[in-house]
């Protein structure tokens, strides 16, 4: 899958370079956002990006920080010409990258937290229904699987399961729409594999 993504990205990168070259003839090789354009994009995409990050991270405070960091990158280093027509996809890509990086950085801690979560499940206080604790445990497990997966595949899963259509995923990841189905399937198969390995590990 990495090879396919790499080839796809090379093609898209060539297209992007051509787009930049066209702009360079007019003296501009990099897009920039006016304050109004940035604020319009912020207001349009904030809620979706924030919700995605809360789902991925599970911590609203950290999700808000990562969402602010995502928009800060748009503000300071907006996508170059060729990517700029899809700022929404670009934001999703940056946000998922930041979140996956955060999950991976904290994966050891999360591993222990997860173990602690199991203990908590066994000694569940009466105030919290067991179903809620099981759901939280499932979410932690999913995050751990994503953290252990190939980053490209993990990103593909996050974008798809957050509800993004194939054509938008293709734009966000610089892929052709026809390649999304096969790549998604490979990502799901890796998810299954890592998940089962983790279950074995936990035993």
């Amino acid at each position: 899958m990495d090879e396919i993504i790499s080839q796809e990205r090379s093609i898209q990168a060539m297209k992007a370079r051509k787009a930049v070259a066209v702009d360079s003839r007019t003296g501009s090789t990099e897009s920039s956002l006016s304050s109004k354009t940035f604020e319009d994009l912020f207001l349009e995409h904030w809620s979706a990006i924030y919700r995605l990050l809360v789902s991925m991270i599970g911590d609203p405070a950290e999700a808000e920080d990562l969402a602010l960091e995502t928009f800060l990158r748009l503000y300071r280093h907006p996508p170059k010409t060729g990517e700029g027509t899809n700022s929404g996809g670009w934001l999703y890509r940056v946000a998922t990258n930041l979140a996956l990086h955060s999950i991976r950085s904290a994966k050891h801690r999360e591993h222990y937290e997860m173990s602690a979560g199991k203990g908590a499940l066994e000694d569940a206080p009466e105030t919290r229904p067991p179903q809620i604790l099981e759901t939280e445990e499932d979410h932690r497990m999913t995050r751990l699987v994503l953290a252990k997966m190939n980053p490209h595949r993990a990103q593909m899963l996050v974008l798809r399961y957050s509800g993004m259509p194939y054509k938008d995923i293709a734009k966000a990841l610089n892929l052709s729409p026809a390649s999304v189905g096969p790549l998604l399937l490979r990502a799901e198969r890796e998810f299954e594999k890592v998940y089962l390995a983790l279950i074995e590990e936990e035993k």
């Binding site: 809620s47 995605l52 789902s55 602010l68 280093h77």
Partner: protein, 391 residues
């Protein structure tokens, strides 16, 4: 269409992401439908495990307009404190120490001198001095790709690593940490650390490339600053001894990336590690370089680069002994600093009293060891008490 669908198409069909003609084939092809059912079964765990990503009801958070206000505050705070915050992690402090030391030495070679036969000079930190500077000019360079590439090229072509510190090594107590680090580690009396770790020594040499360094200044818009060509080819060797980090409370894992206090985390680090205090100890790094140095001359260039006027830089350089002083440039308006008496010597307390993420670091040097106590919070008295309780 008579050809059977491949697995990728069958997967896309589950999301209704195929053209009508292909979907028509699937509807009328038992073989494809069986294969699709098998794919659905084998990816069931992924489907159920990841489904919560799409059901985000009740996770609205701050509304977009409020968030936009937060964003502008965040942007401003990142402008002011991005460099300051780097002082607050032990590893970054080490790099910062090394860079400041290197800059002090690089910017200190006199003109017209043959290096080969010079006796080496040795730099050792004996005191710390803070100098407030306006980093606005440097911050405006962020995003300059050409400059970034030049910096990378300069480092790649100039620096040779002799010793890489590797990952921090945990220690069970101060005695073991002392043994691993090679110096006597002091820990506050009456306090139990949550983690002790030792980072091994590092060493590298740097060969000065004036042309590249000057091109870097030019690209930064500071072609008014001219480096003397006589320093070209000079070898500077830097030895950073092993250091020890002693954590109290719940602190970020030093082995994990980007979990350091205050780095890239806005106010959330303060919320996650409210009781974290870190004591770092490192014997003074040493820098060997060709002798007969005129440190003030080129330190002035460095200070002017950071935003000082020529007069200010000249006045400051006259007040500093550049062979023994660690100079920490501090962004103006981002923090305050005071001299305090700790551990029997004069130390420097730097505080960032921001509402969202207050931080402080207490620095001092004693018997050749640099000490730093840092925390997210405002209780700097705690650091002073800790310093004074060292045996």
């Amino acid at each position: 269409m008579n050809k059977h669908l491949n697995d990728g198409q069958l997967r896309a069909a589950l999301d209704q992401e195929l053209d009508g003609s292909v979907m028509d084939h699937l509807e009328n092809c038992p073989t494809c439908r069986r294969q699709q059912a098998q794919i659905k079964a084998e990816t069931q765990q992924a489907t159920s495990g990841l489904s919560f990503l799409g059901s985000q009801a009740g996770q609205s958070g701050p509304d977009a307009k409020t968030a936009l206000i937060h964003f502008h505050q965040y942007n401003e705070s990142r402008k002011e404190i991005s460099m300051f915050r780097k002082l607050f992690t032990s590893s970054t402090l080490r790099v910062g120490l090394a860079i400041v030391v290197i800059l002090a030495v690089i910017f200190s070679f006199p003109q017209a001198r043959a290096f080969a036969d010079q006796v080496l000079n040795l730099f050792r930190v004996q005191q710390v001095v803070v100098v407030p500077v306006d980093f606005t000019g440097i911050q405006m360079l962020t995003g300059n790709d050409t400059l970034g590439k030049q910096v990378s090229d300069l480092i790649a072509s100039s620096v040779t690593t002799q010793q890489n510190p590797g990952a921090p090594v945990p220690a069970t107590n101060a005695a073991q940490a002392s043994q691993l680090a090679g110096f006597t580690v002091r820990v506050p009396q009456g306090m139990t650390p949550s983690r002790l770790s030792v980072e091994n020594a590092a060493a590298f040499t740097l060969k000065v490339d004036v042309a590249k360094a000057q091109a870097l200044l030019d690209e930064s818009g500071r072609s008014d600053l001219v480096l003397p060509t006589s320093i070209n080819g000079a070898d500077v060797s830097v030895n950073i001894p092993a250091s020890v980090s002693v954590a109290y409370g719940t602190c970020p894992d030093p082995a994990a990336q980007d979990t350091g206090i205050g780095l890239n985390s806005g106010g959330s680090a303060g919320r996650r590690y409210p009781d974290c205090v870190i004591l770092a100890e490192i014997p003074t790094p040493t820098v060997s370089a060709p002798g007969d140095l005129n440190i003030a001359q080129l330190a002035q260039i460095g200070l002017e680069f950071t935003g000082m006027t020529s007069d200010q830089a000249a006045a400051f350089t006259q007040t500093v002994d550049w062979t023994s002083t660690l100079v920490i440039p501090l962004p103006k308006n981002a923090a305050t600093y005071d001299q305090v008496t700790v551990d029997g010597v004069t130390g420097t307390l730097i505080q960032r009293p921001a509402d969202d993420a207050p931080q402080y670091v207490l620095l001092w040097v004693k018997n050749g060891i640099i000490y730093a106590i840092s925390s997210l919070g405002t209780d700097s008295q705690q650091a002073i008490q800790m310093a004074n309780s060292l045996p």
